[in-house]
Symmetry: C2
Subunit: 259 residues, 2 copies
DNA sequence: CTGTTAGTTTGGGTACGACCAAATGAGCGG
DNA sequence: CCGCTCATTTGGTCGTACCCAAACTAACAG
């Protein structure tokens, strides 16, 4: 560091002898974003209200419009505001929803190239609990959604339709749990598994039938609010599904060892 | 598509008679961000490599620097790049990690003001599975972390230290599961519960003792790779904890009905 | 020769200023 | 009263200039 032996103010001007620790200079846009985020999360602005226009914020904060815009962009990416153009546009306060978690989870799955095995394992970990909560808290509307998805699965259409209906049903279970955290998490997980299971080519009529039956059984347990049965059956279902997928994956890996 | 009845080029200039559907014009910065994000996720750039400097991207894309910067800011918020200043600075490719999920989950919890009951419920849903996976995949290093956290809990220091050590232990269990998704999720959840449980004033010596014992039992099951015991004991532990917290919360709610 | 210091270069951060595009509302004519 | 046009508001983009931070470089002093 700088020396510490100069305490003798010689003749002439005096030099202050301060000791400063290395200091961090946060970016102006971050400061603004942090402030606005804090206010939003604290509930200062009711959902749907518009923040002041950019030029107004410029006047208030005395920052440049560039900086203000960057701050707003940060909040937009974090799902805290929604920005609309045009007259009476602006940054409208929005509470983050499930899609917020879902997109982040998707990014991590793709970015880290999480293996299919890990995805299935995670689903085995979380979804039985979802089913239990669904059995506990389901509403009649939830049952309608579950039945609709099951009907779509029974339709024997093209593969993509089956997979989509499959995802819809799993998502419906998560929604029926009435737990936003789990819903967002499971939504991203189901979609990722769907994407990875596509082109896997192990879905045959047999698998479809088994899946449909399992879904119906679980749905019934949820309908009867039978928490234990819902958990038990879901555990079995996702485990069997995982086993089947992984078996095919291994076989495929052997078939095409170079890939 | 476009109509088919205009095949008569009259005299003079010809006016094309096209039918255009309302089209959405995506923002330039989003287009760039989407493109870069796709490349990053596809693995075009190894982690740690730097994207071209902003002015270089300006030259390549023929967009303004403002636009380029906004795109980079988006990627930064999404945790896909890390921006450093100074010479040899720039946007360095980064794979999103657990902290990415954790921050999003935290935002949702705060923004939606998720009730403590829901948080505890979610933990009851996820953490037993974490414990099971931890028992399955734990390494010796994981055990060290768990033991260290338990030792800190036994220390009988101030409340904040106890709560911190408590969080550390729960996070250590999640880490020991070696599942990035669950780790990020549980990390945010534990911290949120910690924050909500603070000032709750129900942590007494009795609770501390019980917690320590439960943690030790679970740690032992993880050490012995006893999957069933780990799951069972964790289920019991988090359930009891939740019950205790909620009971106190109810009592507090009755004591101070106005708040 | 060595160490320190003062440039120099390369990068991001901020500030204006101008103009474009979209959405809305006011005013005007039918 | 209806519909059209036009002005206004507000975000989106552009370009330029300048500042600050970090790392490298060369010159200078010892």
């Amino acid at each position: 560091m700088t020396d510490s032996t100069n305490a003798a103010p010689a003749s002439g001007s005096i030099r202050a002898d301060v000791q400063l620790s290395p200091m961090q200079v946060p970016k102006a846009s971050d400061v603004l974003a942090d402030d606005l985020r804090e206010r939003i999360l604290r509930g200062d602005f009711p959902e749907g209200t518009a923040l002041p226009p950019e030029r107004e914020l410029v006047a208030q904060t005395r920052m440049s419009r560039t900086t203000v815009r960057e701050a707003l962009r940060i909040l937009e990416v974090q799902g805290l505001v929604q920005i609309r153009t045009g007259r009476s546009g602006g940054a409208f306060v929005k509470r983050p929803g499930e899609e917020s978690i879902a997109s982040t989870v998707s990014l991590l799955i793709r970015g880290r190239q999480v293996r299919l095995a890990a995805l299935l394992e995670t689903r085995e970990a979380v979804e039985p609990a979802c089913a239990q909560l669904a059995a506990k808290y389901r509403t009649d509307a939830d049952l309608v959604a579950l039945d609709r998805a099951n009907d779509a699965i029974a339709l024997e259409g093209p593969l993509a339709d089956f997979l989509q209906a499959n995802v819809d049903w799993h998502v419906a279970v998560a929604v029926a749990s009435h737990n936003e955290l789990l819903t967002g998490f499971m939504g991203a997980l189901s979609r990722a598994i769907y994407a990875a299971t596509d082109n896997q080519g192990f879905i045959n009529a047999e698998v479809r039938k088994t899946t449909l039956q399992a879904h119906r059984n679980i749905t019934e347990a949820i309908r009867k609010r039978d928490v234990a049965a819902a958990g038990r059956r879901m555990t079995k279902h996702v485990h069997e599904y995982a086993s089947a997928v992984l078996e095919v994956e291994d076989r495929t890996a052997i078939d095409v060892p170079g890939d």
